[in-house]
Amino acid sequence: MIPPDLYGRRRRDPFWVAVSALFGARQRVRYLRPPAVREIRPVDRTMDLVVLEVRPRADGVVSLRLGAPDGRVLPSWQPGCHLDVLLPAGTRQYSLCGDPADRRAYRIAVRRLHGLSAEMHALCEGDVIRVRGPRNAFPFLRGDRYLFIAGGIGITPILPMVTAAERLRADWRLIYCGRGRDSMPFLDELAGERVRIRTDDEHGVPDCGDLLGDPEPGTAVYCCGPAPMIDGVRAAFGSRADATLHYERFAPAPVADGRPFRIELRRSGRVLEVPADRSALDVIKDELPAVAYSCRQGFCGTCRTRVLEGEVERRSPSDGDDGAMLICVSRAADGRLALDL
C-alpha cells in the first residue's frame, strides 16, 4: 500500500508511486533470467587438540595444556577468551588461563564438579579433544588501574589479565577468594604485595562490599567467580561513575520453580517434553537447530512465537499477552502448549 504524502495533501505520495514503479520494473527485468543461487560452503571451525600435559593444581582441580597434533601455531587469543570443549556428553566452556604470547599451547583448568568435568579429569597426556574457539565473552581493556576480584576457579580468566596488567605496568591489585588454600589453584603463580589471598577458613564468608572497598577513580574492576559473588559485587558497585565494572555475562540463570510440560510443534506435528529444569527454547533447539533466539533471558523478543493452543505462564515483563510467547523464559500454565513452529 503506497502511503499518503507527508503533509496531508494526497492519498498516495507521488514520490513513492514512482519508487514503487521503479522497484516493480526492476523485479520484472530480474525475472527474465533464472535466479542466480550460489552453493553455500560449510565452514567447520572445530579443532582437534592433543593434551600435552595434565597437572594437579589444587584439590579437585587440574590444568591441561593443549596443542595442535602437528605442533602448528594456534589461533590467537586475548585475556578473557574461552574455549568450547565438545565432549560426548555436551559442550562446556573453559577460560584460557595460559599466556597469550605462547602461540603453540592453550592452558585451561578444570574443577571436578559433575559429569562433564569428570570426563575432563579422566583425560591423560596424548588424548585428543575437540574444541571450538577461542571466543571472548569477558573482554579485557587497556587501562592504568585495575582491581581483580576472583572466586575459586574464577581465577582462570583473571590470570592472563593479571599478566597483561603487569606488562602494561598498570597499577593493579588482585583479591583471590576461596574456601581454603588447598582448594585454590595457581596460588604458586600469584605472589607479591599486589595479591591478597582470602580464604573462608581464615576470614569467614566474604562480604562483597568489603571485597570491592572504595576503588580509586579510574579503576577498572574485573570480577569472576560464582554467580552470587558477581551479583554481590555488582550490587556493591552501584552506580558509581568514576570506575567501571567488568564481569562475564553468563548464560541465563537456571529455571526456577519450573513444572514439566508438553509442546506440540504444529507445523511438523512433533510433540516435545520440556522437563522442569529446562526452557522450552532449549528443548525446541534440539529439534529445530535454526530456531531464532538471542538473549535467552526474556527481554530482546527475538524468540517470540505464536501460540495456537494452551495457556502461557508469562515469566518476563516483556512477554505481553498478544497470542504469542517468549519461548526462552515463559512456560505452559496448564501442562500443554501448541506452537506455530
Binding site: 514503487s20 553455500i40 538473549c295 527475538t302
Partner: protein
Amino acid sequence: MTVRLEPEHLVLQARDVRFDWADVPLHWIPGDPVATHLINVLHMLLPAGEEWFVRVFKEALPRIRDERLREDVLGFIGQEAVHASSHDGVLDHFQEQGLDVRPFLRQVEFVFEDLLGDRGATGDRARAWLVERISIIAAIEHFTGVLGDWILNADALDAAGADPTMLDLLRWHGAEEVEHRHVAHDLFMHLDGSYAARLRAMAQTITMLTLLWSRGHRFLMARDPLLNGRVRGGLHHLRRTGPAGLTPDRRMVGASIVRYLKRSYSPLGEGSTSQALAYLAASPAARAARR
C-alpha cells in the same frame, strides 16, 4: 614487551537497557534544531529498519553452514531488536512534545515492509531475494558502523551541551554497532560474496538513505512545533553541521564508501572494538542494564 589487547572473537550479547526520556528537550542540541533533526531522522528510520534486519536475518538462519557465524547472527539479532525498541521510546517522546512523526513513519514502514518485504517470491527466487536483502543490510551496516564510530568520538556534541540521555542512547547504540560491525558482511560473504552484488547494494543503499534522510529532515523541520516551518530542511545543512562536528561529515562518510568498494574491504577496519567496549563499560544505560 608490546601487549596486543584489541579484543577479537567477541561473543555478542544483547543488553537490556532502559532510558528515561521525560527530561529530554525537543531540541536536544541546545539552540540548533537543524543539527538536532538531522540526527533525529535516524530515530524515525531505525525502528522499522532494524526490525526488518531481524526478520531477514531470522529467515537466513536455516541457511547458515557455520556455527560461529550462526552465534554471531543470533547475538546481532538480539542487539538490533533492543535498538529498535529503544528508538521507539524516543518517537513516543516526540509525539508527547507535539511533534507528530506518524506520516513519515508510515512511509518508512512502506519501505521496509512492502518494498523490501518478501514480495511474494518463492523457491530459488525467494533465496536470491533473501541474499539481495542481506547485501543491502551489509551495506547499511557499513554506515551504522561508521556512524557509530563517529558518535563515540563526537566531542563537539558534548561541547555544544547536547542532552546526556540522548547522547547515551546514541553512543550505546553506536558502540554496539561497532561491536557487531562485521556480522552482516560476514553473513553476506558466507551466503554469496559476489563483488558485483556488493557494489549494487551500496549504490541502492546510498540512493535510498540519501532520499530518506533528506525527506525526513525537511519533514521534521516543517512539522517542528517550535519552528513553524521558518527554516527549510535538507541535506545542504550538512555543509555547516558536518565540519562543526555536530553531524557526520560528508567527506568522512565518502572516504568510508571508497574503502567499502575495495575488494579487500573488512568492516573490522572501521572503528575500534576497544573504544566501543570501553564506552559500553561506562555508559549509564548499559551499566544499569539488569542483564
